[in-house]
Amino acid sequence: MTTADLRRTPLFDVHVEASGKLVPFAGWEMPVQYSGLMEEHRAVRTAAGLFDVSHMGEVAVRGAGAEAFLQHLTPNDVGRLKEGRAHYSALLDEDGKYIDDLLVYRLREDQFILVVNAANTATDLEWIEDYAPDGVEVEDVSEEYALLALQGPRAVETLQALTETELAPIRYYGFRRGSVTGHPALLSRTGYTGEDGFELYLAPEAATEVWAALLDTGRGAGVIPAGLGARDTLRLEAGMALYGHELDRDTTPWEAQLGWTIKMGKGDFVGSRALAEAKERGPSALVVGFEITARGIAREGCVAYAAGTEIGKVTSGTFSPTLGKALGMAKLAVGHTALGYEFEIEVRGRRLPARVVEVPFYRRTKNA
């Protein structure tokens, strides 16, 4: 794909002006970093970072049958999802494996928005439309939204200075409609960094102004723009799965250790029969966290060994800026996944010692 084929977010010019390093990502030309990955990562952990994640896809599902439809289509319990709340869920195939992971927002009784990965938007849309019954309207509304994520311990106070919506009562995974610097917005207390913060769904025309206002207001607190590079190291420290890495068409939620998103008791849904059988059989592999106990970094695709036998592969691996060591997630055969289990990962022909550790690697200290 050449640069000319890549899509640009409404903030493209802003990124260029801010000396953002733009790279192709999931069909978009996106900022991978501005001042430096480490600095941006630390800003999110200690102050706040502002991300442009407008590449994410949004699919509206509306109509009297919308709840029943999503209840059938996705594994989490949409029946228990209240207006003004979102939850983490998935699109699974009939084998109970991941087509995508997503957020479901309940805007109204019969009105939902699914937020999906940019790389999967077209596939997801086709899948959703195939299953949609008459009377349920499915629409790709990705073009109607710019999406900014303000994440970090200073995020709430920074955003609060620019909105009349009272943020304190909004709980994690709750959202409100309101406005930011006078622009209508959906203010959602969600994120992908392991920090407190908000994601703002805005009209594309409003993005530049809101972006600038957040950075201006937050400057004294240390708020800086952050790119997809930091987003990835942050989500990995927080133990959050990324589609195409921990999640794919070969992985069930049981294997991904995301069983908490699967509500088997709610009745049949796409993939539920396969998931019931898979649960009965027990998983053959599990996604676990690991750290490298020598010098070196294991990266995605590196092969894991125990006693000379291949036991799995690294799904994501990096150097953790917060913890100062190399860590990651790997899909390992059962029997090799207990906490503290020691194994090896081959990196450029050398086998580095590794150990299974608890996920998340990083947990923020919550304010009282």
């Binding site: 991978v32 970093q33 430096g36 480490m38 590079g229 010098r295 150097f319 800026p321």
Partner: protein, 126 residues
Amino acid sequence: MYPENYHYSNEHEWFHVEGDECTIGITDFAQDELGEVVFVELPEVGTHFDGNDEIGTIESVKAVSEIYTAVPGEVTEVNTELENAPEKVNEDPHGQGWLIRMKLDEGVDLEGLMNAEQYEEFTHNG
């Protein structure tokens, strides 16, 4: 920006030759592309390398980059400071962030390398 008395390879390493001794590092352009360096893996003193051999690796948070020597010789010293302070490669790539020193083989020819001006131009076109 690029020291006049160094030579440069198209793999973005610099070579500072003094007599039969050569100090090797990566260029400012290379460190900037790589981002914050977190590990540097260097060869053992006494190892002999031919031209274009891989002598080690540099890892940043997001990427790993192999380091090559453009000239043949035997490693006489490695920058052990980088073990605890790999960030020196970013902070001072042409100075304190040096990687290894070699005793050059006899009759080594630096013809294939660029001078500072040529390298500067190379980074703009590459």
